[in-house]
Symmetry: C2
Subunit: 254 residues, 2 copies
C-alpha cells in the first residue's frame, strides 16, 4: 500500500469545531504529526504514533511527515484553524516542490477547517460581511515594508482587515505601528475586534475603536479584525455589542 | 422561554463538512429557515418546521427568522459555507440594527463553517499560503467602480485574490473585465484556480493561467482564486498539479 499524507485543520478550538471529514482523517491515521499543543487536542487512538514538534520548525515538520508517509504509512499532520491559512499546507507544498521526486507521487489531501478570523467574526456578529483580507503581521518570512504597504492598500481600498500573528515575544512593537498606519487611512472610530483563544479556555472578545486599539492587550493567540469605514457597532441590552459590515457598500474615499 | 436564532454555516457541501457545533445547532432547532437548496442539505427531523425562501430575499429571510425567534422559538437560519462571508450573518445583523427593539434582546449565535475559498484552496494545495483577500464580484449592492479599485489595489499589493459570486445571468461579462484589470498588475503566467461545486456532485477543479482565464467557464457555483506573482504550480506524475503560495514573500513590484 502506498502512503498518504492528510494535512488536517482542527478549527479554532475543541472538538466541536472539527468537521466530520477532519475527524475521519485523524481516526484513520497511523501516525500523527504537529505542533505539541495542537496534537494535544486530538483524542488518543490505540496504535497511533505521535510526533510533536516545535512551532517554528514548519518545513522540518513537513519533511518528517512526508518522509514517513513515503514509507507507506497513513500520516495526518495537524494544523490549528485551517491548514491553508498561515499554517502547514503551504510548508508541505514547499517541501514537495523542493524535496525528493518520490514526494510528488504521494497521495496528499488537505482537509479544510474553520480558520481563526471566521471564528472571531462569528462571535462578534458579521464584521467580514463585505470584501476583506487577511494579513500576517509576522516579518519572519517577509520584509516589514511589504506588510506596511499591504496594510495601507487594504485600508485605502475599503477592505475589512484580519490580522494574524499580531504580536510575539520577538515582535512586541509592530502591532502598534500597524495601527498607526491604519489610522492614516481610517476614521479613529473604526471598530476593532480582539478575539483571544476563541473556542478554548480563556476565550475573550473585546471591541474597541481604532484610536484606542494600541492600548488593548494582544498576544500570539489573538486574532484582530479591523473594520472598514462602513463597519457598524450595534449596542444591545445585557448582551455584548454586535459588529457588522453591511452587505451594501457606498463609494469609498480617495 | 425566550427565543434563539442560530445562523449556521453548512460548509461547502455535504454533511462531511459540517462541524459538530453546526450539527447540534441544527438538531436542536424548532424551525429551519434558508435558501431552498441549502435547506435540502439538512437531514429531516421530526417536529421541525421548514421555511424555504428565494436566494435574493436575504433581508426578508433574516426578518422572518428573527420574527419567529422573537416569538420564543429556537430558529436555525442556514447558510452555505460560512455565514459571515458574503452570506446571511450580515443580513441578520442589518435587520437587528434597523428592526424592532425586541430583536436586539434575542439570543443570537453565529456558527462558523468552512467557506468556499478554504475548500477550493484545500483541493488545489495551498494557494492562500500568504496574505490574501476575498472580493465579491456582484455589483447588486456596491458600485462596480469599487470592485475595479479593490481588484487593482489587491493585485498591486501582492495579495492572492479569492473571487466570490464571479458570474450570474444578469452579470455575464464582468468576470472578463476583472481578469483584464488583474492582467495590468500581474504576470500573464499567474496561476488561476476555478473551483466548481467543491464537496458536492459535479465538483471540478481547473488550474489555468491568467492570460487564459477569461476562456474558462464559470457560474455562480464557481469560486475563483487568482494567485499573486509568487504563486507556484508543481506538476505531479498522474496527479493534478499542486498550487501554492510560498510562506516567504520577497519585495513586490511598484
Amino acid at each position: 500500500m502506498s502512503g498518504r499524507l492528510a494535512v488536517v485543520g482542527l478549527g479554532p478550538g475543541d472538538a466541536r469545531y472539527l468537521t466530520e471529514e477532519a475527524r475521519l482523517a485523524l481516526d484513520e491515521a497511523d501516525a500523527l504529526y504537529g505542533y505539541g499543543p495542537y496534537l494535544d487536542r486530538v483524542p488518543e487512538h490505540p496504535g497511533q504514533s505521535r510526533h510533536a514538534s516545535d512551532n517554528r520548525e514548519e518545513l522540518g515538520r513537513a519533511a518528517a511527515a512526508l518522509d514517513h508517509a513515503a514509507s507507506g504509512v497513513r500520516v495526518a499532520l495537524v494544523s490549528g484553524g485551517d491548514p491553508g491559512v498561515f499554517a502547514m499546507a503551504a510548508a508541505v507544498c514547499e517541501a514537495i516542490d523542493t524535496g525528493p521526486a518520490a514526494w510528488r507521487g504521494l497521495d496528499l489531501a488537505v482537509v479544510p477547517g474553520v480558520t481563526a478570523m471566521l471564528a472571531v467574526a462569528a462571535r462578534a456578529g458579521a464584521p467580514l460581511g463585505h470584501d476583506f483580507c487577511a494579513i500576517s503581521l509576522s516579518d519572519n518570512l517577509k520584509p516589514w515594508a511589504i506588510i506596511e504597504r499591504r496594510l495601507a492598500a487594504a485600508a485605502e481600498a475599503g477592505f475589512v482587515i484580519a490580522l494574524y500573528n499580531p504580536v510575539s515575544k520577538a515582535r512586541p512593537t509592530q502591532l502598534g505601528v500597524a495601527f498607526a498606519i491604519l489610522l492614516r487611512h481610517l476614521p479613529p472610530s473604526t471598530p476593532v475586534i480582539f478575539g483571544r483563544a476563541v473556542g478554548r479556555d480563556g476565550e475573550r472578545i473585546a471591541v474597541v475603536n481604532l484610536a484606542r486599539a494600541a492600548h488593548e492587550p494582544a498576544d500570539m493567540a489573538t486574532l484582530i479584525i479591523v473594520g472598514s469605514a462602513m463597519t457598524r457597532v450595534v449596542a444591545r441590552p445585557n448582551r455584548p455589542p454586535l459588529v457588522y459590515t453591511p452587505r451594501a457598500a457606498a463609494e469609498v474615499r480617495g
